[in-house]
């Protein structure tokens, strides 16, 4: 044992030598305005534009040289075209059958689960079955696999897709247009929502994404617009008349949140009256659970008879009755509003640069957002502006953000992926433990109940309980290293080598002084690894 420990110590020292010199240089007499070194920039890019470095990245940086590597990396990330997934990952994702179902088929599945559930409850009441869980649970069998597969798609891509920026942006924009999987059929639709409304647009046009979210049944149901109707609407048909839950008037939930959260921002200059008037303009925007033959895959429907055909006064303008076009016009106005540009710019700068982003940067991003508003690559242009900004690469931004639980879990697993060998060996066979860790940390995937989604600032996540949980997570992961095919045997030295320039000398000293079996726990539990 003693021999092995000494051996490891020597290896560590050898691997660290090139990094250590830069660590010392950074800590001795370098001010807050010292430019980042090339290797610091490369790691910063992996952390801010991706979910953190893997051993393979560190090896590539060493082999190619940090400056050249970074140039290629940035070009590839900003390409915006769909990336080719590694075959192992692609095959595994393709095997998940529910990711191929359209909105209608997914809803069918939800309804079947509901019917079976009702049947089961009736049976229980009639005494045909005992009240315990022995019988099949339709929700568990029909609905949960859909959410689980969506979660797996999300996590495996974030772990292993070469298009890391796309994965960071999918998380950012899903969160911006958050829907909650715990509310009725949103459960079966979250994956579809991400695939159809969010992912195709993260490098595209904001108005297109806004429209896609507004019309997706997940959003229509989550923020209740599907049920919001003109005050004088009377349903036709026997069935609807008997339904005690039939809507009888406005519901202003979506109209408020689309202005407050999705576009203008809470101080974006609208009043309660504007909320109500927008709700009236959006009446009839709903979904048809049973579209006829030949319908598109989208369930969105503008129900003329539910629409409020009166004149509206909204954001200082008079809106003449014009059916669905009223809502389309509203989304046009909101998507190209300067307050929307500022709101989106602030959020992007906060997510990618600093909890308290520099106002000049926010202004430049907002200007770019507006200048490119009619472009099909508007959001890629904005990201280009962000990546070119000196603020992103400043010493002040380096290691300055605190990881959210999502990022902490993903970056932990990425740093433990060994350098060589087929990727398949390193993808977790089961993502449920990761989902459990996110639940426990207060950030369940697809589980933000409220429409504002999750925050990405230190104030939201830095607290004693988070450190306790992360150290526990680090130890659990460490104990499983090498014991399951899910996590290959990774030596602490490799982790040290991958994280090199990100570690303080206090961390390096503590890791070197610790028993080998504790080193990975300490690295993942270190203050340096809490930040990115």
């Amino acid at each position: 044992m003693i021999t092995r420990r000494q051996g490891l110590g020597t290896m560590t020292a050898a691997l660290l030598t090139p990094w250590m010199s830069s660590v010392r240089a950074a800590s001795i007499g370098t001010g807050a305005d010292t430019p980042l070194s090339d290797s610091e920039r490369a790691l910063h890019a992996l952390e801010r534009l991706g979910f953190g470095p893997r051993a393979a990245d560190a090896e590539a940086i060493r082999a190619q040289g940090a400056a050249a590597w970074l140039k290629d990396f940035l070009a590839a990330q900003l390409q915006g075209a769909r990336v080719d997934l590694p075959p192992v990952l692609g095959d595994r994702l393709a095997a998940e059958d529910t990711s191929k179902l359209d909105q209608g088929a997914l809803f069918e599945r939800f309804r079947r689960a509901q019917q079976l559930e009702r049947q089961r409850k009736r049976d229980q009441k009639d005494g045909q079955e005992t009240a315990d869980d022995k019988g099949p649970n339709p929700r568990r069998e029909l609905v949960r696999p859909v959410v689980l597969q969506a979660s797996e798609q999300r996590l495996l891509r974030a772990l292993a897709s070469p298009g890391q920026l796309e994965e960071v942006l999918v998380d950012f924009w899903f969160n911006h247009f958050n829907v909650y999987a715990g509310k009725g059929p949103v459960s079966v639709w979250v994956g579809s929502y991400e695939r159809e409304a969010i992912r195709p647009n993260v490098f595209g046009n904001f108005r297109t994404m806004l429209g896609a979210t507004a019309k997706h049944p997940a959003m229509l149901f989550y923020l209740d617009n599907a049920q919001s109707v003109a005050a004088d609407w009377h349903p036709r048909g026997r069935f609807e008349n008997r339904n005690p839950n039939k809507p009888t008037g406005l519901n202003e939930n979506y109209a408020r949140e689309v202005m407050e959260l999705h576009t203008l921002g809470v101080d974006g200059g609208y009043t309660q009256r504007d909320v109500t008037e927008l709700a009236r303009m959006l009446t009839g925007w709903t979904y048809d659970p049973k579209p006829g033959w030949g319908s598109s895959r989208s369930l969105f429907q503008f129900a003329e008879e539910r629409h409020d055909h009166g004149r509206k006064h909204w954001l200082g303008r008079t809106v003449e009755p014009n059916g669905q076009a009223e809502g389309e016009m509203a989304l046009d106005v909101l998507a190209s509003h300067p307050n929307t540009a500022r709101h989106i710019a602030f959020q992007l700068a906060q997510a990618f640069v600093s909890d308290d982003p520099p106002p000049e940067l926010v202004q430049r991003l907002a200007d770019r957002f507006l200048a490119a508003k009619d472009s099909r690559t508007q959001l890629r242009d904005v990201m280009q502006e962000l990546v070119q900004s000196e603020e992103l690469w400043s010493r002040a931004a380096f290691r300055a953000k605190f990881k959210s639980p999502y990022r902490y879990v993903l970056s932990s697993l990425r740093v433990l992926v060994p350098g060589g060998g087929p990727l398949a060996n390193h993808l977790p066979a089961d993502v449920q433990p990761l989902l459990g860790a996110l639940n426990q940390a207060g950030m369940p995937l697809y589980g933000s109940v409220t429409p504002d989604g999750y925050k990405n600032t230190a104030v939201a996540w830095q607290n004693p309980e988070a450190l306790t949980q992360r150290v526990q997570f680090a130890q659990t992961v460490n104990q499983r290293v090498g014991k399951r095919p899910a996590l290959a045997a990774v030596e602490p030295d490799q982790v040290l080598a991958t994280l090199g320039p990100l570690l303080s000398s206090a961390t390096i000293d503590a890791v070197r002084g610790a028993a080998p079996d504790m080193r990975t726990t300490l690295l993942l539990g270190s203050p340096d690894f809490m930040r990115f």
């Binding site: 519901n251 459990g436 207060g442 450190l467 306790t468 997570f473 130890q475 206090a506």
Partner: protein
Amino acid sequence: MKRRHLLQLAGWTWLSAATAVSRAAVPTQNKLVVVMLRGAVDGLSIVTPYGDPHYAQSREAIRLAAPGSDGGVLQLDNLFGLNPALSPLMPYWQRGQLGFVHASGSPDPTRSHFDAQDYMESGTPGLKSTNDGWMNRLLQAMPGAATPTRAVNMGATLPRIFSGAGEVASLGLGPKAFSHEAIDDPRTQAALAAMYAKDPQLGHTFDAAREGRGEMQRSMAADDNMSGDDHAGMDPRIDRGAPSANGFAADAQRLGRLIQRDPHTQLAFTSVGGWDTHINQGGAKGQLANKLAALGRGLDALAQGLGPAMNNTVVVVMSEFGRTVRENGTHGTDHGRGNVMWVLGGPVNGGRVHGEWPGLDQSALADGRDLAVVSDFRAVLASVAQRHLGMDDAAMAKVFPSGREGWAAWKGAPLVRTG
């Protein structure tokens, strides 16, 4: 309809009590627990003004019936009744340990959940630049010595209300909240401490984790229910996700037990989500009633966990704003203004609904649609803090640095008994 009985009538007697209230800050062992209902609960369905002639006509599918009828509210007085789903709390009302302040809330008119919660937690309505929370400022301004567990937050994340310079211990959710974790292992902890000691941003958080856990575990060591399971970690313990009313009771009881056993714990906070009932809210039965029933069980469990400590604990329940007086087009309610605050505990002057009732007739409604805010939420909190936690005026001004006329309005109001 106006109802001014308490504040105004009792005004004279407060003058004599005022000397006691403005005495210099004196350390106490009294405790304050704040429970926040995130998502804006419909206060009119909690303490229902069945006696207000405009109540019944404003609501249909979600209306609660008068006391005595099927599914009717539990009578509190001639104006108000309690949602029948909250029947486990009626004994507290009858013993005088539960009271309410109706038509209370924030002076800021925002109907954004997120801004309104922020204001209620920062304690500075309308002011976004405040970067700490009022409970953290209270922790710092309270007389007596600071200890690692003087303030305890229950939940996975530190809420805005507790952010700030004062050290706040964390109590996790779920049955394993007190179990041994990797961070408690002396070897691991020593190595981590060496790393974190050199870190200016995170060192403080690490110390809070280490010290808080140490003290909580010592307090709970003799507890029969303490779990010794140290194999926690990656199990998908879905019940530990975002807290909902349903999972609240066990957590609340655990918090109560901790407060009972740790004499240093004086401030605690937790929150319960899922009150944004825009659709099919239900009446005496249904979505909201189910959640309220779970909340009622949770508060009852908290009181049981507190045991004898209930005698010097005040629990305040609050929510960011109320909901529209009129039912919306989808049998729910939209974002409104005034709400009801709950005050529960041994020292509470309960068995009555405090505050002025502005009424529900059209002319009395805020913006023609919402219950008006008559009582500033800070006035309610300041009244509790001053009478119960021994805060003098100077200390109180640190907790609520703005809007003195707002928070001092209830100075000396007898929400809780002193001494």
